[in-house]
Amino acid sequence: MKILLIEDDGETALYVKRGLEESGHLVDHTPDGRDGLLLAASEPYDILIVDRMLPGLDGLGMVKTLRGSGVKTPILFLTAVGGIDDRVEGLDAGGDDYLVKPFAFSELLARINALGRRQPLSAEQTTIAIADLELDLLRHRATRGGQVVELRPREFRLLEYLLRNADRVVTRTMLLERVWDFNFDPQTNVVETHISRLRAKVDKPFEKELIKTIHGVGYSLVSPR
């Protein structure tokens, strides 16, 4: 993917750029908000990574301007401003995701991948399927191999999120934010517990295991080849 990184801190920029390039992405970098705005508006990027606090033009204003001029490129905010309201502000301004510094690189990569190939689910699409697993979003019903799998509401949301991001890694934090709506780090293994319960219902009784643990990073729902 072609990624534009707008980040004024040289060391962070280098760390992110190098990491993303090693993962096979093309990265352009500018430390200035105004330059970033021009580049983002003129070049076809797949993803923009924007620091909230920038010289020239601040990240929030930049994203608002971009969205105002009709640029729909997915945007990930990167910020040291980790306040509770800042996150909402960032997403309201038109950001698609929000990552607070300091972060693990794997977390950034997982989020970039989730953003990059996000295909908007068409309004008519009421089922998502991978292999023999199918989710009926209207009736809140999961089936695998034609067999109905009884899921609690939270387990259903968890499975839905994994399915929507099939073949990509989702981190624990991403799950907490999107499935639980927790913007904090709980002290117990609430995610792990639910994943293992979900596995017991969706994977264990069947031949192929779909939910994989990516050690040290998160989980992934992998379609069997």
Partner: protein, 457 residues
């Protein structure tokens, strides 16, 4: 009376409020006196003037009657008689002259023909005390004037002028004193407040403004400022406590990281200990970052800015979700959660913070109790007031620790073997305070009962 309010600020000549109040007082006082004086002056002098004219009119009427009866000759004779009778200073002057200007009778020389009321100075009279006279042309063309001495009027006017002048001579210093006294009385209180604030600014936060018993505007102002100062003291104390806590509690893990990094430096590349040391160092740093984030979050919640985002939400639904989520977690940890949740209870607040508060409390109950513990989550309303209870039958918290656990970094487990930052309950306390939720830890016999009483909307 304290004369400690200067009219000008020392050093420059900017008028102080005291000066302005004094000036306004002076102007109003003198203005009133002037209006009163002017009214008296004109009123009294007009009455006298009118009195004199009345007398002249009477006198003239007699002479006119004479003219009507006996014509010019009769009038001439009458005037001559009157003028003869009167001594010069007895107050009347007369003049009768024929149409060509020849004086026929009276004490005055030939006069230009001017009809109506006028002021006339007779020959030998004083310029500044003219007679008041009225003149007319009679039916046969002769010109007739009669006047009266204005001496009494001028006496009265002089008396009035003198009186008023003296009034002002006394009034000026009197009103000046009054003005200064009033402004000084008022501003003395302001000065007292200023002096206290000066001391506060100089660092003496314990300084308070004296409050009188009158409960007037100044007392209320002083009370308000004192309350604000109390608030500031609380905040700075809190800040100081946090700085101490941070210094104390974050230094230990930082030291551990440093030691690990030193060990790492000494390791040969590729040694198996290396990756282990690296991993534990990162873990340690992550824990530090978690603690920092928690501190920031608490600080943010305590700052109260979140209040703007309060919305009404279904509290019962939030409780149900948390119960559902943590049933599994508790089971995994060998504990049982049960819940009795009243339906359709709505509450106005920050949903995400309330959820975090409940999660913290439930996680505490799960993490700090032995296996087999029963945890009970309850939400109910009584007469419109919502209350929640999170109770467990675990070891509880000793009475003497209950206050302390709400402070930052405090942990009942002094060995600090179990993971955690010691910030969980501080966050709960901060969220509760933001929402005005009464939050207490009580004995559950055995165990701990956390009671949350939501404020009425």
């Amino acid at each position: 009376m304290a004369w400690d309010t200067p009219l000008f600020r020392p050093g420059n000549f900017t008028p102080t409020t005291a000066f302005r109040i004094t000036c306004i007082y002076l102007a109003v006082f003198i203005g009133c006196a002037a209006v009163l004086g002017a009214a008296t002056y004109f009123g009294v002098s007009q009455v006298w003037r009118w009195q004199i004219r009345e007398e002249i009119r009477d006198e003239r009427q007699d002479l006119r009657d004479r003219f009507a009866q006996a014509g010019r000759a009769g009038l001439r004779q009458a005037i001559a008689e009157l003028a003869e009778e009167l001594e010069e200073d007895e107050g009347y002057i007369y003049l009768l002259q024929d149409p060509d200007g020849t004086v026929l009778a009276g004490q005055l020389p030939s006069f230009p023909v001017v009809e109506g009321w006028q002021e006339v100075v007779p020959p030998g009279g004083e310029e500044d005390e003219p007679f008041i006279a009225v003149a007319q042309v009679l039916s046969d063309g002769s010109y007739f004037l009669i006047g009266r001495d204005g001496h009494d009027l001028y006496e009265v006017i002089e008396f009035l002028e003198e009186g008023l002048a003296w009034t002002f001579v006394f009034l000026l210093p009197l009103s000046l004193i009054g003005g200064i006294a009033i402004s000084s009385l008022m501003l003395r209180r302001v000065e007292a407040i200023n002096r206290s604030l000066e001391l506060v600014r100089g660092g003496d936060l314990g300084q308070r403004i004296p409050v009188g018993g009158a409960n007037d505007e100044f007392d209320r102002l002083a009370g308000g400022i004192n309350a604000m100062l109390d608030g500031i003291v609380d905040l700075t104390d809190g800040l100081r406590q946090v700085s101490r806590d941070i210094a104390h509690d974050l230094r230990t893990p930082l030291t551990r990281v440093r030691q690990k990094l030193e060990l790492l430096e000494a390791q040969a590349p590729g040694s198996p200990d290396r990756s282990d040391l690296l991993a534990t160092s990162i873990e340690e740093v992550d824990r530090l970052l978690d603690a920092f984030n928690a501190l920031l979050r608490i600080a943010q919640i305590e700052s109260g800015t979140r209040k703007s985002g309060f919305k009404s939400f279904d509290l019962s639904e939030a409780f149900h979700q948390i119960l559902e989520d943590y049933e599994l977690v508790a089971e995994e940890n060998g504990k049982i959660i049960t819940g009795s949740i009243e339906e359709n209870l709505h509450y106005t607040g920050d949903r995400s913070l309330i959820i975090q508060m409940l999660v913290n409390l439930i996680e505490n109950a799960i993490r700090h109790t032995p296996p087999g513990t029963k945890i009970d989550l309850a939400l109910q309303s009584d007469a419109g007031l919502i209350a929640a209870i999170i109770a467990d039958d675990g070891p509880g918290i000793p009475v003497e620790d209950r206050e302390k656990v709400l402070g930052r970094f405090y942990r009942v487990d002094r060995s600090r073997l179990s993971p955690g930052s010691g910030l969980g309950l501080s966050l709960v306390a901060a969220v509760a305070k933001l929402h005005g939720i009464a939050f207490e830890l009580v004995e559950n016999g055995p165990g701990l009962k956390v009671r949350l009483r939501f404020p009425s909307p």
